[in-house]
């Protein structure tokens, strides 16, 4: 485990390129070192398939969600934290991209703990453990837990139907 910036950068940079390849089939991504010694920085650069290099700001909401998660998950693969807490991060993704993301999360969750808050059925379907939060008419939250082996029937009252 190399200490310091260079070690983590080398590890994360490689994982980021793999993540972008998984989330943007045919696309390209890299972490570029920019700036100078006074103000060193790292820039995220992603070019989806068939498109030309553009500032990240011009990407769509779903594309930017994938780019941001690719960065976060690249770090999670190289230097995992004890757990990851993700609150409705997939809201902007279409069905295809959501499933690509979940394939990555599922793989990472074999070695790293994830806690995801969601309204999305496909996310519920890959859960190892499922919790339902409810609030009765008295304004008090309660929790119902289900330990699953990747089942989703119990989530049906809580979750949203989409296309």
């Amino acid at each position: 485990v190399s200490a310091g910036f260079d070690g983590v950068f080398t590890a994360v940079r490689a994982r980021f390129e793999e993540m972008i390849a998984a989330l943007f089939p045919g696309g390209q991504g890299r972490l570029a070192v920019i700036g100078d010694d006074d103000d060193p920085g790292v820039e995220i650069q992603v070019v989806p398939q068939g498109k030309r290099p553009r500032p990240l700001a011009l990407l769509s909401g779903g594309e930017r969600t994938l780019v941001a998660l690719a960065f976060c998950l690249a770090i999670a693969t190289a230097r995992p934290a004890p757990f990851y807490l993700l609150d409705e991060v997939e809201a902007a993704l279409d069905d295809t991209n959501l499933r690509r993301l979940l394939a990555v999360v599922r793989r990472l969750s074999e070695h790293t703990q994830f806690v995801m808050i969601t309204h999305q059925q496909p996310t519920v379907e890959i859960a190892d453990t499922l919790f339902g939060v409810t609030m009765a008419a008295d304004g008090v939250s309660e929790i119902v837990a289900r330990r699953l082996d990747r089942g989703a029937e119990s989530a049906r009252p809580f979750v949203r139907r989409q296309l």
Binding site: A68, A81, V89, D128, V133, D138, I143
Partner: protein
């Protein structure tokens, strides 16, 4: 991994509640306004978040359960997190960490680390050792997932340095 979250009096969680999390993927569902993000905020608050705005509040005592239709406000909010190492760490540190944070309606605050009273700084340090310091990339709040895309290159570099 985060093995347990126990909370009472924190936002909409008026009564003592606990979640036993598992390894792998834990998914939390529920209707709008039921308390899911409140639970996420309980975690970041217990980890030492000091900016009330990051908890959708204007002051820290706003996280205390402030009553429901037929239920009076709580006097205090308390959250306990239990972190365990899934594999034995080769760093000289305990394999289990328990963090407790509490605040009263009048703003009296307290922190405990493995049962002993401590300062907020001690909580920050114990968690930073595990990659869970303030602003950890490991926590992505509702509406914030795209933030990395609008971060400046120096900030992105700082995120990488923090992960080292």
């Amino acid at each position: 991994m985060l093995r347990q979250i126990a909370l009472r009096g924190f936002k909409s969680f008026a009564q003592a509640t606990s979640l036993e999390l598992g390894p792998g993927l834990n998914v939390i569902v529920g209707p709008n306004g039921s308390g899911k993000s409140n639970l996420a905020e309980a975690i970041v608050w217990a980890m030492g978040e000091q900016r009330a705005a990051k908890l959708r509040a204007s002051g820290m005592s706003e996280v205390v359960f402030s009553g429901g239709a037929h239920r009076p406000p709580a006097g205090l909010a308390e959250v306990r997190l239990t972190l365990v190492d899934e594999e034995p760490a080769d760093i000289g540190r305990p394999s289990e960490v328990e963090v407790v944070r509490r605040i009263t309606r009048t703003g009296d605050a307290g922190y405990r680390l493995n049962g002993a009273n401590c300062r907020l700084l001690d909580v920050h340090e114990a968690l930073a050792l595990r990659g869970l310091g303030p602003d950890a990339l490991a926590v992505i709040r509702q509406g914030q997932v795209e933030a990395v895309c609008t971060s400046r290159p120096s900030d992105i570099r700082a995120m990488l340095e923090e992960a080292a």
